[in-house]
Symmetry: C2
Subunit: 242 residues, 2 copies
């Protein structure tokens, strides 16, 4: 009754990953979320863009599968990797499924790439990056229900940034608080008050002063912080987004 399952060829299990990185927008120049998509080279949805992913190997953990996809697609390691949702509805291939296409259940992960590692990212085959909020316009309709998945991932990222220190995942080892603020602003899509931001982050205890300062700025040199170990953390809320 429990834990037994079908294993015929009608049902397939795949792991896909929504990979986010922060890059300047190609038009406005503002820092925004980008993600890589893969062009499908066979039916169904041949020629359309899809989330990177692949079949789950029988001897492979779910996260390992997501990690492998990331390496294959961008050549990087995820700085944050988290399960998003399992999508398995019968009609997830845009409302109807051709008779000869097997039914696919996808376990979707989302990943964040650090800014400094993203700089060294190498695009895999048939891979192209798009600004997350402009995917519909620039990539056209995505394969399967991947547009739904992407929207859900974006929503989750934006919600999570305000109550969890995931923004660290985008930042290098040491960083000024202003850089962190820019990450928050990019994800949330709105400006934050620098002084209140500083107080809130420091009150959380998620960052530690390294004692060092940045040099070469054309203004007062900011202190450098690094992310604090899991312990010694309190609570958190970013400017009214609780």
């Amino acid at each position: 009754m429990t834990e037994r399952s079908i294993s015929g060829s009608q049902l397939e299990l795949a792991v896909s990953t929504v990979i986010f990185a922060l890059r300047p927008h190609h038009e406005t120049g503002e820092l925004t979320l980008w993600l890589p998509l893969v062009r499908r080279i066979r039916e169904p949805f041949q020629g359309q863009w899809a989330l990177p992913g692949g079949p789950l190997e029988p001897d492979e953990d779910l996260v390992d599968s997501a990690r492998a996809t990331l390496r294959r697609t961008t050549g990087t390691q995820p700085r944050h990797l988290e399960q998003l949702y399992a999508f398995g509805d019968l009609d997830r291939s845009t409302g109807h499924r051709p008779a000869d296409t097997p039914r696919v259940v996808s376990i979707v992960y989302w990943a964040l790439i650090r800014q400094d590692e993203d700089a060294g990212a190498i695009d895999g085959e048939n891979v192209e990056w798009f600004p997350a909020d402009d995917v519909a316009e620039e990539a056209g309709p995505l394969a399967f229900d991947h547009q739904v998945i992407l929207s859900y991932a974006l929503q989750r990222l934006r919600a999570k940034v305000s109550y969890s220190p995931i923004a660290h995942a985008f930042l290098p080892e040491e960083f000024p608080l202003a850089a962190m603020r820019r990450v928050y602003e990019a994800i949330l899509g709105r400006a934050l008050d620098p002084s209140n931001f500083r107080r809130q982050i420091l009150a959380q205890g998620t960052v530690v002063d390294t004692g060092r300062r940045m040099t070469g700025t054309s203004h007062r040199p900011p202190k450098l912080y690094r992310s604090a170990p899991e312990s010694s953390r309190y609570t958190l809320t970013i400017q009214g987004s609780a």
Copy 2:
């Protein structure tokens, strides 16, 4: 590269469900969370208790599978049904897996049953209910990694109750606010100030005054409320659990 998958007999896909209902504790009499478990009648883990579930049928949506499990196990309909997580690690059968046991990926849902419907629940075969927090003592070690899954589900429920109106799922159509408060107290495991609770709930806009009152109480008759439609809701926080 995307959405293709293994479908051999080494990999199986199951849907399990953590089903919560509120019942008085059999020792203390206090309202607490209970859940039904199913005794396994075959290897592996024969004789041990497990979460109810079953294989995913090739032509069945994930939620439908969870709903079917619920009907089979308790004879009820879920009032709230939500995906919890997909568990798929290779070693999820308590650290090691016998060579002849196939590898199973479980998509786990959690469900809430309404108090009035729970009263009419009929136990399925090999089904027994346990207080959620006493499962380890009363049911012994659960099959597979089901103890981990249960703890995760409990944690999620307790977190979610303080920022989302899921408590409604336990309540009948019309209810006094005190009944709702008792639900919150049962889930959170601590007493809440009645007057502040009232104010907070009313401020959220998640309930509407029906204009009617309860009768037959040995004290001032309380107003009856019903849950508000999705629209006309504001923000929420229950007594410092943000």
